[in-house]
Amino acid sequence: MLGSYWESVAIFTAINCLMGISLYIPMMAGLISLGQGGFMAIGAYVCALLTKGNVPFGLALCIGGGAAALAGVIIGTPALRIRGIYVMILTLGFGEIVRVFFATFEPAGGASGMGGIHPLTELWQVVLATAAALLLVWRIRHVRFGRAMIAIHEDDVAAEAMGINLTRTKLLSFTLGSLIAGIAGGFYAHQALFIDANQFDFMRSAVTFLYVILGGAGNPFGPIVGAVTVTLVPEMLRVVQDWRMTVFGSLLVVMAIWRP
């Protein structure tokens, strides 16, 4: 259908959309994570290790996502006690520690990474996953959980006074985000076929953050728009391709000034 190059681009775009959504959910509750790359890494490595052991792809994705979600619980719990901006630092540190871990963890390849991953990812799978994630976010917005997250984000004193358990809601939000990032990681590993710790470094988390900010954090299509733009535009415009970071960086500055 598409040429195989563009099919690959489409797959990576969809994976990036999933990453954008993975950050969007905790941001609904006011939790800004600069460590989504870390969760993606966990999902990628766990999933790849499992499929090498002949575990079916679907199951491996779920377990990889689950591992990421578990990490989400572990990191999320201290994150609940500290105020907004410090969550960013905590998650940033988490992302780095995951990177260091996989760079030194020999059974997963250590610094030389892990290759020979089975090419199991297909476009329809990722598109389906992204659509499901979008549907999930849309539904969340219209039920109790979504209202609670928005309330916490806006005014947590009022939210708590209305019976919302701040800890539980924020933790659930954060964990859901890390689950989705883990699943994105699993898809990524089986498309890139070779992964190493440096593919999941701070830049990965920063670019994910970029998707959400660029596309707008106000609605779930924002991260989609952001991810698609950041992934596809460099493919289309050579200029942007060469000066990607300059363009996106400047865009960020401009947006921060004129459209916060």
Binding site: G93, V100, L252, P260
Partner: protein
């Protein structure tokens, strides 16, 4: 041997401290996470390098060049990426986004201009060696230790004795205090950026001398470590940053010497996470309250 490692640790630690102090100053006064601070550090290193390469100046001039270069960049960042946001109100997120973007731009521009490779940082001090009996120090190491120490002493004098310095510390409690002291808030903020960036520039040149190599990518790594130190020492506490930097420097050097070198970074981030979980206000009191 251990003593040698300690010397190395102090050296590394003082460069971390210089960067962390910069983060702390900006964070303390402005509650801003300056995500481009690492890049400012990197630019300082390159500025110093240029002076050495082009005109064969010695390390002291390089240091001053790095200091000035970074300070200028820092002030430019304030004017372009931060002040317009301040004018428009008090978002917490927007300045971070802006500094992140600025950092990306700076890094790519530097990579395009200087190439992605590492470059050596030549200096006539590299060959000087002093044998003190129980420990050997090179001229470079002495220079680094001296420069770092002097910088911190000057900084200490600045924040305790000068009007602007005191205003900076007071402003971390409450930015309104600056105007009470008769100081223009805009000027104070610009100055804060300048001082923080100058320290980063000094650190850049020192790190370049220490490892005899600089690259456009050194900013990210140092930047993140600097933030980790700030957190470990206690957000908003200058002395915490100093101590945190030293602790980290020692820890890294010792873990490289006695464990595998791959675990170097693990020490940093492990400590950081531990602190955040166990004692989020940082190791040293006078940090800002970060708990809800």
């Amino acid at each position: 041997m251990l003593l040698q490692q300690l010397v190395n640790g102090v050296m590394l630690g003082s460069t971390y401290a210089l960067i962390a102090i910069g983060y702390t100053l900006i964070f303390g006064v402005l509650r801003l996470l300056h995500l481009a601070h690492g890049e400012v550090f990197m630019v300082g290193a390159f500025a110093g390098l240029q002076l050495v390469l082009l005109r064969h100046f010695g390390p002291l001039v390089a240091l001053i060049g790095g200091l000035i270069g970074s300070a200028l960049l820092g002030m430019l960042l304030e004017l372009v990426a931060f002040r317009p946001i301040r004018r428009r109100g008090n978002s917490q997120l927007a300045p971070i986004v802006s500094t992140l973007g600025a950092g990306l731009v700076i890094q790519e521009l530097m990579t395009k201009y200087f190439g992605a490779e590492q470059t050596a940082f030549p200096s006539n001090l590299h060959s000087l060696v002093y044998d003190l009996g129980f420990v050997t120090v090179t001229g470079t190491q002495l220079f680094i230790l001296g420069a770092a120490a002097i910088s911190m002493i000057i900084l200490h004098q600045f924040v305790t004795r000068t009007r602007y310095g005191i205003a900076m510390r007071a402003a971390s409690e409450n930015i309104e205090v600056a105007s009470v002291l008769g100081i223009n808030v805009d000027t104070l903020i610009l100055l804060t950026f300048a001082v923080a960036s100058a320290l980063a520039g000094i650190a850049g040149v020192l790190v370049g001398l220490n490892f005899n190599a600089i690259s456009p990518y050194m900013g990210i790594d140092m930047g993140i470590k600097g933030m980790a130190v700030m957190l470990i020492g206690g957000l908003g506490s200058i002395y915490g940053a100093m101590m945190g930097g030293l602790i980290l420097g020692m820890g890294e050097v010792l873990s490289v010497a006695y464990l595998e070198s791959a675990y170097r970074d693990a020490f940093t981030f492990g400590l950081m996470i531990l602190i955040l979980i166990v004692r989020p206000t940082g190791l040293f009191r006078a940090g800002l309250n970060i708990e809800r």
